[in-house]
Point group: D2
Chain length 340, copies 4
């Protein structure tokens, strides 16, 4: 059954949402919305959307729209998601779901009340290596998790050139929330205690008031530990914009992942060396590929086949609560317990 | 438009064909055929095929079948492909198309006469890193190709344990044909001269009369060179069954690929260390992923949307001619020119 | 000037000390001492020492001995070092210097009183990549250190098969002390606060009462942070016995190190895959090579040329104090401040 | 016994020779000679040589000189080496020994007549990973060699900016000779047949008349094959100036080497990413380290202890003959047999 989709927020990821909807046999791309009308227009034209606007309420008012993607800045999710839910649209919201607990709860409540699906865009759950790790854990190949080390960092390009609103988010919200969800999903138990520290120096010195990095520790029920590292000031000379390393040590085995500098392909031109993306979001013969896009396809399938998304609003809430607890631990300089 | 597909040969790759057909919204999996009836039955049951048989002519006689995959041993392609074409079915034939020029020509002729599509399963053209390389070349980022080094080898597991018919093929036919097609596709010019050498020692000593390895050189019109390495006796202690390395050196840049030991993920259990596949043929949440499967999906799209496959019967013929010329060079101990 | 050296403790590293002394043009290997007399005899014979014994006091009584290496188990350093100092011998003591503060202080005091050199075997300071990192920091290429992530772990082989006395040490003492010294040396400022956590499960379940891993955080004066990871239960299927990864993020640049699985050389035999050591302790044409041996050569040079060792007893004391503070933080479940 | 050494040719490697002689306890650095007097002066001053000159005959006339290093351009070895031998000096000549067979023979003859040692600077024989490979072969861990793939290439920096005389040498002479010697040393049998091809385009287009790359094949007595790749036009954006990959496939095992992009250490500054050398020629605490320097130390040991160098003039001759045969094969476009 073909259904109608709208995209709200047509930045980097919003454009991917639009392209996936345009390609999917079961989806029609109805609207592209962006506060920059010209960008909305261009993205709509590129993917042959039915319409575009700089007022998302237009899209929500359209009865041909069954579901929407919300890919606006981190701090601008809740109002739109709640309005979409109230308009009876299923919602795929980019991570983090929101940056306060109250917003997350209101979003979940709105979706529940409206009887619509609310998915959080934790695309790592669709990552081939992360999924293989999940499967190895489920199959018992590694025994129980003793600890995870997970690094997800960006070069300084991201908070200084890619995002205009970095100071209103943080590396912990922006990508740390991915790591939190991934660790929670892999370990499958609640977090009981967190600790963290951060430092503000480089970005602050550039007038962007957000920490340079966070080092955070999650203690799970049952004893498993996750050590997270999230940095926003890696040098731009790195061959990738992102640096991802993970290690899962179990009682019977271990998995090591490197999803950024694995060098499946290295390209050296006259101007620079880079490792083209062949994992997250790329194209082959014009078709959207990569697990970032699989995540969006999953939402289409959930909507058209009436299935529950793999990552729900509750998962978004959980990650937000953990971020907030880490921030509290940073302030206190001491570990913070999380309620059972 | 949904169309009917049959799979002939239900080994490793045939099973992937069946799964892709079963999953594709535009395809129905009608038949699974295998000389081992029990295997046909099991694969059919797993993917909910309509029927199974050990006589592929049954499937060809079924008017509900629009297209077939031929995934039988290398030497057993032509008869089936020709019969399928004559029955008016589109054909996706696994590589190598056939192991004689006459067979290839007859297969192409039969398809042409019947007005059906004939695709050769050169799935590397769908490989994310190979495609990125192709695009970098098309975009002029590397200048003109000076040379390519391409290694595609298997551990000794493949010719001794996986294939019962290794002595009726060779590492050059079995995987070298992939490399040949990839180099031809990347360089985009005809091969004018080839040279090669091989040695027969380890496998021959085990009673499997096929060379241990080939080292081959292709000289293209315009001067580009491709050096190929194909070995079938790598130790089984390698963390992957396959070893793939490629290097493309252009007048203005270079690309390096490692699609086997890139270590995107490493898994160490109590018993062994391995690098799980996250590129060619794997599953995420039960869904067929990887470029091997994208290649099969492409065939579905070509059939249902009446498009020309990216890799045709002619491409299969070209690769076969080059393999045959390399074999001739090995016999002669001297380079062999190829007709313009 | 040629001087006399003795080795006390002829295990893995003690044998390297003996070989380096035997090779060095300025050193004569006088004694090899080990509680297992037969091992002392064999090592002495191999490296043509003048004598061997199971009572180290014999070696200390020999006036031809100018300096000794103490390479006994972690807990058995102080008594011997103090006796050696009192006998007027210079001492190279393997890390950790000792496992209590009182012992470290007594060792330093004894050396000071006797006017002999006391070196702690922190060989990482001689590691080519670590030294390059140190130099890049000194040259200002990276700006100031924001944080370091340093992993140094062993497979479970080490605490279960290599060391008989693992339960009397810990992964934090045994190799964590290396990381502590390296981070302190790289950052060049005092540690003001530490935090840590550990878990005891796998080894304890095997009857070896020592934690499986420690995750520790060092906060330095000035704001730099070091996150350490030390695990003793990695699977034995890893291609190396040790897993070392480090990352140094500065305000202007970053360094990444992998000194265990860099794959400079990979060896696959019929039985296993391994990455032979080409960095720490290996031989080329029969000669001791690697930074572990350079560290010992440095001691010879310090003794024969009357120079101060690069890593002193005070450095050993500093590392021990930090280990003890981490252990305290683990017990408390809260960060521990360190005196200025 | 301390002996006197002179260095003739004070470029990149000549400076390393000077430094090693200056550091070695058994050597005194007497002279530094370079056609650029100022460079000779500077290098002499840096390493506290006794004297410097732009006329190497001065050094040869000095009776305090026992041995000399010849590190002049490839084409300028023979005259100096022969003069040195006639003056009774032992000689360490950088590779290639010479670029004609007649010169090589005359050099060997001169050394023999004078009773002096003649060593060719094939430093790969001292490379830790290459030595480990040699040892694995000698220990039978890999069985017999089936084939070797060996890539040794430079970025275009080398022939265009580092060497003023690239057009008077070639990538095959300059670094291919290293590969040839390494393969011959590893396999331990004579070469019976060679083939090769090269292309001249990029460098020629820049006015430097030397091939961009060579692809060469060596067939050894007994059947082993070595495929060599030597390129001089890799992009300068590579993180290292050199690209080295090797693979040794035996009847029972395999070894893979990457001695350039192993990423033991990666350094990213604001300006570029690079992989600092920790293998060939680097310093730790001011001391010359790396196998390039070990090779020079070996020469000191051979001279002072009257031992035969590991790589002799005959080894240099062998490599030169093979280069010449490859050049002949390139011209002919057909394999060339080598006399038994």
């Amino acid at each position: 059954m073909t259904m109608g989709f709208a995209v709200i927020g047509a930045g980097t990821w919003g454009q991917s949402h639009a392209k996936v909807y345009a390609e999917h046999p079961d989806a029609r791309l109805m609207w592209v919305c962006d506060t920059y009308l010209e960008r909305a227009r261009q993205v709509a034209a590129l993917h042959e959307a039915q319409a575009f606007t700089n007022d998302y309420r237009e899209a929500l008012a359209d009865p041909a729209v069954d579901a929407v993607s919300v890919a606006t800045p981190d701090f601008a999710h809740s109002e739109i998601v709640i309005a979409a839910a109230r308009a009876g649209k299923h919602v795929l919201c980019e991570k983090p779901l929101a940056t306060t607990e109250a917003e997350c709860l209101a979003m979940i409540e709105a979706a529940k009340k409206a009887g619509v699906k609310l998915m959080t865009g934790f695309h790592n759950r669709f990552s081939p290596p992360v999924f293989q790790a999940k499967q190895a854990l489920q199959d018992g190949e590694l025994g129980d998790v003793l600890y995870i080390y997970y690094r997800l960092s960006d070069t300084i390009f991201v908070p200084t050139k890619m995002l205009s609103w970095a100071a209103r988010s943080s590396v912990l919200w922006f990508i740390g929330s991915h790591v939190i969800d991934t660790c929670c999903w892999l370990i499958g138990k609640p977090v009981r205690r967190v600790h963290g520290l951060s430092r503000s120096r480089v970005l602050k010195g550039m007038g962007i008031d957000t920490p340079d990095f966070y080092s955070s520790t999650l203690e799970f029920e049952g004893g498993a530990v996750a050590v997270m590292e999230n940095c926003w000031v890696l040098p731009e000379t790195l061959p990738t914009i992102v640096d991802v390393k993970a290690e899962i040590v179990g009682t019977n085995g271990a998995i090591f992942m490197d999803t950024s500098s694995h060098r499946t392909i290295q390209k050296y031109t006259q101007h620079k060396g880079s490792y083209p993306d062949v994992l997250v979001n790329y194209q082959v013969h014009g078709k959207s590929m990569g697990f970032g896009n699989e995540c969006i396809r999953h939402f289409v399938d959930c909507v058209t086949q009436d299935r529950t998304p793999l990552a729900t609003g509750e998962d978004g809430l959980r990650a937000a609560r953990i971020v907030l607890a880490i921030e509290e631990a940073v302030r206190r300089g001491a570990p913070v317990d999380m309620p059972a």
